[in-house]
Amino acid sequence: MNAAAHTQYDSIVIGGGHNGLVCATYLARGGHRVLVLEAADRLGGAAVTREFAPGFRVSACAHLLHLMPPPLMRELGLEAQGLKLAAAGLPTVALSEDAHHLSFGPGNLAALAERCAADAAALAEWQSLLKRFARALHPVLTGTPPRLGTVAWRDACALLGLGWRIRRLGRRDMRELLRIGGMCVHDLLEERFSLALLKGAVALDAVLGSNLGPRSPGTVLSLLYRVAASQGADSLTLPQGGLGALSEALARAARAAGAEVRTGSPVERILVSDDHVAGVVLCGGEEIAARTVISSADPKSTFLGLLGSEHLDAGFVRRVTQVRSRGLTAKLHLALDRLPQFRGLAEESLRGRLLVAPSADYVERAYNHAKYNEYSRAPMLEITIPTLADPGLAPAGRHVMSVIVQYAPYTLAAGWATQRTPFADLVIDTLGAYAPQLRDSIRAIELLAPPDIEREFRITGGHWHHAELALDQFLMVRPVPGAAQYQTPVPGLFLCGAGCHPGGGVMGLPGRNAARQVIREAA
């Protein structure tokens, strides 16, 4: 560490997204002199609020905050840094074309019980089972994944701990966990529920942001993971000012901890000298020295783009190229002259998230197209109207609709160059089946297809989670064996992005775990 004594920074964090900022905060608190380099002119990565039409602002990528564990938010002191929630505990409304919608929320299954008492009971039981699983799995699903095949005390403890926690669930729950862990969510839904609308809604949660359909293996795992990572809270919240407000609070926390944050500073290359990281070169040519570089960029960008395969073994490079990162999720932003009218839905219900996933089969059919590089003819949608809780995002009386659309494959056979408009039309038509006058109120449309997400947020393949969240890219094999503990084969280079365990979504845990790993290594 002698060289570091002469440089200005101990560590450089590449990327000022939420994971990069969380990482920088923990590093700075650990005594590191940290520099965060963000390529874009604003911080936040895919958790940003930006204008998409004059006077209209929206959370441009992620639009709900629900995965960041409350203890992490407290530890970061985000409230003190000015983060306010415009809404929390948002209900979910599963839309039905016959206007017989189904609304359910955390702790509020009354409407469901009215429709189908058995399903309400089954959902309550399922949620309580998930919470028990979450409590058991949380430490392992959110900590640094243990290495396999080592004799290190730390790894052995983590594995033993996992085994012990699963065992402690009791015979019945343990059997159920082992039984459903690798299942597809479709089978699980068939076992537990009867209402198609409910099954569609749960299926949507299992596949959102992923290259998976309800019949894909491992979709139960993604549900478990979603609940476990958020420590069972799974409360849908809207930060005041959009997801960008979260990033601003994170940036303030990082700066308060002593980290330096620079925007408009894209990194061109990670410098390596004598098989150890030596710093970075910015696109303008500026060299910044540091013995530790932590990249929140996705694994492919980090290894193949910023580092270069010449510093890596060929087999490792092959594994990196094989990381599945084909994005299938698009984002549609609508600037609206007035609040849309959904048939059969009171204004109050529009505050929650609305789902167009009327059945699990609907979702599976939507996914079918994606397998063959087509977009869904009847897409699955997650809709929010953030201006109801947070009117400041649009001019007075106007509204913003933010829609996550699946499936819209990155590798669209027809090419996105000509397909953006027809696809946006298709999504608006799909919405029109539930809100017939919607089209008349649209003032501006922005569609972000995966290639746009790739460009704007610098994520290879435009995949929201940087790397598909599936069993083969999970825990100690995320993103690839040999880089799963935030460390990489190159001494001094670490990963802290969504491509690391526990993965994507606005969660922040990869950033925190990576910082801890860096500090442990330096000790």
């Binding site: 098989d275 193949l304 395969s309 010449e310 073994d313 060929a314 490792f316 092959r318 190229t321 040999g482």
Partner: protein, 408 residues
């Protein structure tokens, strides 16, 4: 070569451009497969062929050697990251023996790298490597093309080989230094067409002796063979097969993939792979040349110290210790390794072997015991004989280095 009329399943082994000539001279008609080609195992007798290599000159068809043309702006960077030795100083006209490893530092194959021109190389390998080469090429601006079928290759090895090549009109070959190569022309026989035959000649080989390898267009293969055999008629020149070659390569101490080590690309059982350090090829591993695949694993292995090593053995008696297990003592209770290649060396008059030996016994001068099975007129006997760890190569004549070589 494959033809449309003969689908591959009717012609499972390819014929080299020398095949017709070899077939005529092959008294035993003993052909064996090698990298998809049919090649000669023994022409007449292994001993006669062996002595042609060591005492006169020999022709050996090495067309099946897999050849890749590697070119492009990053060709040098690509190769330097692929192989374990530093090839940055390998200039045009030079050849380097090299090995390459997987991420774990386990050997995949060995071969020779020819620098043809800046950023144009030929890589000759024992086995097909396209998959690994393509994986290794991710992130490099490099074009890799297999040219095995486009190049006929003939090894001319033995103390009189330089003289023989001069006699067929390859003027200037005597100036080639070991591991040098160059472009040459050979005059055609009278009435055999106009113009000279162009070829690349390299002073390389697998015999540990004076010798050359000729790389030519397949269409010229028979003319070159005929010219060499014609001039060699009075010089005891013989075509040789792979069994005689195996004897001389053991004398020279060269390792053979899938004989002395299993390629990491084929190994199925954990722990059977071997590293270049274990094979005694540490001299081919340069930790200071920048990163190469397997470097970090090999550094760790070096720090850990050797578990086993391929060593040369000088074994009592005259019976080759083929496949022999080695023991720490005559009692044969505790194993110390096993023989991977063995031969009686007629030149050294020693019973030689290459063996993978456990760490405590790898030092030169150590003694292990070889368990040899003898068949004496169909009666099997077991012998425990003393084997001493000795330096390799077993046989290294001065003439393999001399430039110009002696003019016989």
């Amino acid at each position: 070569m494959l033809t449309e009329s003969e689908p591959h399943y009717r012609q499972p082994l390819l014929k080299t451009p020398f095949h017709e000539r070899a077939r005529e001279l092959s008294q035993l008609d003993s052909f064996v497969p090698w990298a998809g080609y049919s090649t000669v195992d023994v022409f007449t007798s292994v001993e006669q062929e062996y002595f042609a290599i060591r005492n006169a000159s020999s022709l050996y068809d090495l067309t099946p050697m897999v050849k890749y043309r590697i070119s492009g702006a990053d060709a040098l960077r690509f190769l330097n990251r692929l192989v374990t030795r530093d090839i940055r100083r390998l200039g045009p006209g030079r050849v380097a023996y090299a090995v390459w490893c997987d991420d774990a530092g386990h050997l995949i194959d060995d071969g020779t790298v020819f620098c043809i021109a800046p950023n144009e190389y030929r890589l000759c390998t024992a086995e097909r490597q396209l998959d690994w080469l393509r994986v290794s090429a991710i992130g490099f601006d490099v074009e890799i093309r297999e040219v095995t079928e486009e190049v006929a290759a003939l090894a001319v090895q033995g103390p009189t080989s330089a003289k023989l090549l001069k006699a067929v009109g390859l003027a200037g070959v005597e100036r080639l230094k070991p591991f040098g190569h160059g472009e040459f022309t050979m005059p055609r026989a009278a009435g055999a067409g106009a113009g000279a035959i162009p070829m690349m000649v390299s002073r390389t080989g697998f015999t540990g002796d004076l010798g050359y390898e000729l790389w030519m267009q397949p269409a010229d293969a028979e003319s070159v063979w005929d010219a060499l055999m014609e001039v060699g008629r009075t010089r005891a020149v013989r075509p040789v097969g792979s069994r005689a070659l195996n004897m001389v390569r053991i004398e020279a101490g060269f390792v053979l993939p899938n004989v002395d080590f299993v390629s990491a690309a084929h190994a199925l059982y954990l722990g059977t792979e071997r590293s270049p350090l274990e094979l005694g090829l540490a001299w081919l591993v340069d930790f200071n040349k920048g990163h190469f695949t397997g470097r970090r694993a090999l550094l760790a292995e070096q720090a850990r110290g050797p578990r086993r090593r391929l060593v040369g053995l000088d074994i009592e008696g005259t019976k080759p210790a083929h496949n022999a297990l080695l023991y720490t003592a005559r009692s044969g209770k505790k194993e110390a390794g096993s023989v991977t290649s063995a031969t009686w060396s007629p030149t050294c008059k020693r019973n030689l072997a290459l063996a993978m030996v456990e760490a405590p016994y790898i030092a030169t001068g150590s003694t292990v015991w070889a368990e040899i099975y003898l068949n004496r007129e169909l009666v099997w006997e077991r012998r425990m004989v003393r084997a001493r760890v000795v330096e390799r190569p077993f046989y290294a004549p001065q003439r393999r280095h001399a430039t110009p070589p002696a003019d016989f």
